[in-house]
């Protein structure tokens, strides 16, 4: 892995959550909020359908950013704002750009877009790079 430089874009991560992803993530995380796993409930509260867990989407940002570092301890911090809703069976894209590199730590900005909507914005990560 060559050194990161300010302004550099990290490789984009594209992932399509399958139809049953929200059930697996609910079990794995313990978050069984019905807006994620019950189509009828989601519609009854005014959503178009079941929505993705924001923290699953955040985990995709963590994955995209950490891939630019070395090993499971490289990611030191991640902060995001959730905006809009993500849906199963639609591809989402995580984009990330290096903002600064100082004292062996890269500061990286990231966001997540799905079908033209930004569902995570103002993502900021600190990644140990040296």
């Amino acid at each position: 892995m060559s050194a990161l430089e300010p302004g550099q874009a990290l490789p984009e991560l594209r992932v399509t959550p399958d139809k049953y992803l929200t059930y697996r993530y609910a079990g794995a995380s313990g978050d069984f909020n019905p807006i994620h796993i019950d189509e009828e409930f989601a519609k009854a509260v005014g959503l178009p359908g079941r929505i993705l867990h924001g923290l699953w989407t955040m985990a995709q940002v963590a994955r995209a950013v950490a891939a630019a570092g070395e090993g499971p301890e490289a990611l030191r911090r991640l902060s995001v704002q959730f905006r809009g809703m993500g849906f199963p069976e639609q591809e989402l894209a995580v984009t990330a750009t290096v903002k600064a590199v100082e004292d062996g730590t890269a500061v990286i900005q990231a966001e997540v877009e799905q079908d033209g909507r930004r569902i995570i914005r103002k993502g900021e990560a600190e990644l140990r790079v040296g």
């Binding site: 697996r24 794995a28 995380s29 924001g54 995709q60 994955r63 090993g71 301890e73």
Partner: protein, 144 residues
């Protein structure tokens, strides 16, 4: 409507979590973390870890159990029908591996009205069996 802010500063008893190997594998699979260190104990040991390593966002698993009592606390008074998860911040310390015993304490950090939206901010601090802080989380929930 005046926002009830007297819960700010309130803390909750620590909530323990025993980190299991299969739970790490299950979580890692659900979020697409397919690296060998998260799944294969031999690979993890060869890399110097005692057992499989939790992906950073596994913090959600061990910290959520501690955040829930604060979220549902009548003293905090969140209107769940109108709540959305607005933002999340995690700062990580030493890695978490299968076999670790994590304890998480939660504090109500802030309750504030910003432009007609109520912001509820909780902080979680998770420590391992050696007293090291493995993750500090800032959980921002917004009530419309």
């Amino acid at each position: 409507m005046a926002l009830k802010t007297d819960a700010v500063g309130k803390t909750y008893p620590p909530v323990g979590y025993a980190v299991g190997r299969e739970k790490i594998r299950e979580y890692a699979a659900a979020v697409g973390e397919d690296g060998a260190l998260h799944h294969d104990p031999e690979a993890a040991r060869a890399a110097g870890y005692a057992d499989v390593v939790a992906p950073p966002m596994f913090a959600v698993v061990y910290a959520s159990k501690a955040v829930a009592p604060a979220l549902f606390d009548p003293d905090v008074g969140i209107d769940f029908a109108r709540m959305v998860h607005g933002g999340q911040d995690f700062v990580w310390g030493p890695p978490v591996v299968a076999g670790d015993e994590i304890a998480t304490e939660v504090e109500v950090k802030d309750v504030a009205d910003r432009g007609g939206l109520a912001f509820y901010v909780f902080e979680s601090r998770s420590t391992n069996q050696d007293g090291e802080t493995v993750c500090t989380g800032t959980w921002t929930n917004i009530v419309r």
